[in-house]
Symmetry: C2
Subunit: 436 residues, 2 copies
């Protein structure tokens, strides 16, 4: 008799596999950390099942991939909004971050993990300070994560001089290299805060250990004009000249690109993280994502940090991504629902080098799976599941979440995080943030 | 001893009164359909209270006002997306609407009422066919509504020839004129589907009974070019010449406006309904809302129908409104959180002529109040309630809703709608919609 530890059954399975197969009345079998079978419900009759999760006619799909965030910035959620960028950074964010310590980063990340799990994210890619604490929080929350310490030319409030930053990064890589859910990345901040030597060394470390390289690229017109003034090149062409573009590189934002930039990204198979809500709220601009996709560039979706969004709900980010480009191009056919779903699942995984492991529901992959409860007024009726997933489902409709085979949320109850303690911790931190 | 039937207590009260007063630890007293007192919690000690609702440190605020929707289009939610406008209308929406009948409109509206109450809306303004059924559904759901039968030149699938439409409208006005929560409006579709005589007669009826006049205006470039070709005027200047602009007129969409249009809207004190998500999804364009507000024009927010959005959650519409104009103007200071909150509450009420009754929490107004549960990961910490309400709260965070003094939802349980029956009804309707 066939045996399986966990059967998620009685749902529409959006596999996001290479055929984008949809199984109308399907089930997914999981044993250990792996997906072992995906099929019609009927094909599992007679199987011995240890635990069954009934999707109740809802949607079973791969967990979402948040390709760019600064998780611990949950501590500063809504601290200041609607301000000119310089005033926002200099008068609010930088003074708040001056108080940052390892404990705040751990607790703020734990809150972010709770929010992400509760809204359907099963993998996130983080850039911030004290990333050792981020790795530990993600490990404790049992959420898949790619984390990397931010590197820049000037001394860091965390590790001090830059050499220490590289040393810290390499130590993290070695410490976590065999972990099943934590991956360490090398994360230089940007071309405007990182000298050419820093960028080249970061790329070398990324190549040496074969880990992702993550950087902010061309987020604003101001950044692009700065780099043009300094180097006579756009940020993308500057990175190309330094030999930093590669399939390991994840270029976050990519708002201000010209045609040559797009060609360079394409030729090098560099991956892009699209952060529409942050780009809107900070008034940075609109990334030419439909052009990137037309060019065949792999684009994932990210929320950016909570100070500039102010939430980590990738379902809302998908909704916004789909609509923003339609109105920007005055074309309702761009960024259709399935394209946006791919970006947030399998292409998100690919952009982090994790597409062998996660991003789709296929036998042999790790079990990163979420179940959406569609028995709700705002999800009634349902003609096309992909339409609902992009245009109607919100994070709060995620009922159950499984990461690396482990049920981390069931019926909206978190299994790995003591959420009352986390909320109390962050409220204490917030009191200290506003104390002058 | 002071007596009160209902005390909503222990929350941050966002009054949205003329001073935009915020009471940090406040309470609201309600007797019958009216708000009788708004103050600090301590001032109610010793009062005799029949029923207490504890906001648990969350937010107490006026219910949201959805100034433009086609509620029964919930029946077609997600039927077709991402298509060129003509293909979407001709191949999907019009054939589906050909099957429309009074029963579908009643049930579809009932589903919309459930969704709206569950996401914090306490008043909606509707335009569709069989609006008598919409009034009855709203009355049964006990949600405040402004409803009007759509009028156009050609025979209606509901009432037949146009004269019957005017007759139907006047009969609705007379039937509901003393109702505490239902208001009938006169609703010509648009300048492109309504001849000048229709528009003038509609305005006359609106004036005669002193009820709102609601119309789609300048939603697309195509519409504006059509009216220019036919009349040599923009839709707004065409309406001005016909004498139709007035404080009773609610102009929905107003995407494509020139400076002269804005002046005409301002001079006449015409009100505007802004529908950012629908305008984005249909790729219509971006309304110059910051200019309208700068000019002193009263602007409310609407979701439009579920076929083009695809949900009725005004919290998400606020989030989008705040962010869309920032990126469109490349200015992060436009559409700050409090401006957007005003649009969705008191200015929404004003745009429907209901600002004496609803849209703010003030003694003497009707009790249209919602309570937001902020004890959640994605709403932690909370530095500024107005920031959370626009950028982080979602409809699913609304815990309790009171309309005209009646508790219509408590702890997310609907009190006036049998939601299981409604969901089953709509699933049956959907099966029939896709049957060819």
């Amino acid at each position: 008799m066939n045996k399986v530890e966990l059967l998620i059954t009685n749902g529409i399975v959006m596999t996001m596999d290479p055929d984008l197969a949809v199984i109308q009345n399907g089930a997914v079998a999981v044993t250990g950390d792996q997906i072992t079978a995906v099929d019609e419900v009927t094909s599992f009759s007679g199987w011995a099942v240890d635990k069954t999760i009934d999707a109740g006619g809802g949607i079973i799909m791969p967990g979402l991939i948040n390709t760019h965030t600064h998780a611990a910035m949950t501590c500063f959620r809504g601290l200041a909004d609607d301000l000119p960028l310089a005033e926002w950074l200099n008068n609010y964010i930088f003074p708040a971050e001056a108080k940052l310590n390892r404990d705040m980063v751990f607790k703020g990340t734990m809150l972010a993990c709770a929010e992400m799990i509760m809204s359907g994210t099963t993998t996130f890619c983080d850039m911030y300070l004290f990333e050792g604490a981020v790795a530990e929080a993600a490990k404790q929350a049992e959420i898949r994560a790619v984390v990397g310490e931010v590197l820049y030319d000037f001394p860091s409030p965390h590790y001090g001089p830059l050499e220490k930053g590289f040393e810290y990064t390499e130590n993290l890589i070695k410490k976590w290299q065999n972990d099943p859910i934590i991956t360490i990345a090398v994360e230089p901040h940007s071309t405007y805060l990182c000298a050419p030597e820093l960028l080249k060394k970061a790329a070398d470390i990324s190549e040496k250990y074969n880990v992702p390289l993550v950087i902010h690229v061309s987020e604003t017109e101001f950044e692009v004009s700065q780099i043009k003034e300094r180097f006579g090149l756009t940020p993308v062409s500057h990175l190309a000249e330094l030999g930093v573009l590669s399939p390991r590189l994840l270029a976050c934002h990519c708002v201000v690109l010209n045609d040559a930039d797009i060609s360079l990204l394409k030729q090098s198979d560099t991956r892009v993280s699209h952060n529409p809500e942050s780009n809107m709220k900070l008034a940075s601009g609109i990334s030419p994502v439909p052009d990137l996709i037309d060019a065949g560039i792999c684009v994932g979706v990210g929320t950016d940090g909570c100070a500039s969004n102010n939430a980590l709900d990738l379902f809302l980010e998908m909704d916004t991504a789909a609509k923003l480009h339609k109105v920007n191009r005055l074309d309702p056919t761009v960024m259709d629902a399935m394209t946006v779903l791919k970006m947030s699942t399998i292409d998100g995984a690919r952009s982090l080098g994790l597409d062998k492991i996660t991003g789709s529901i296929e036998p042999g992959k790790k079990a990163d799976i979420i179940v959406i409860d569609t028995h709700k007024p705002h999800l009634t009726p349902m003609y096309h599941p992909e339409s609902h997933l992009v245009y109607a489902v919100r994070g709060s409709d995620v009922d159950t979440s499984i990461i690396n085979g482990k049920v981390v949320m069931e019926n909206r109850a978190l299994k790995t995080i003591d959420i009352e303690t986390v909320i109390a911790d962050i409220r204490d931190i917030a009191k200290n943030v506003v104390k002058s």
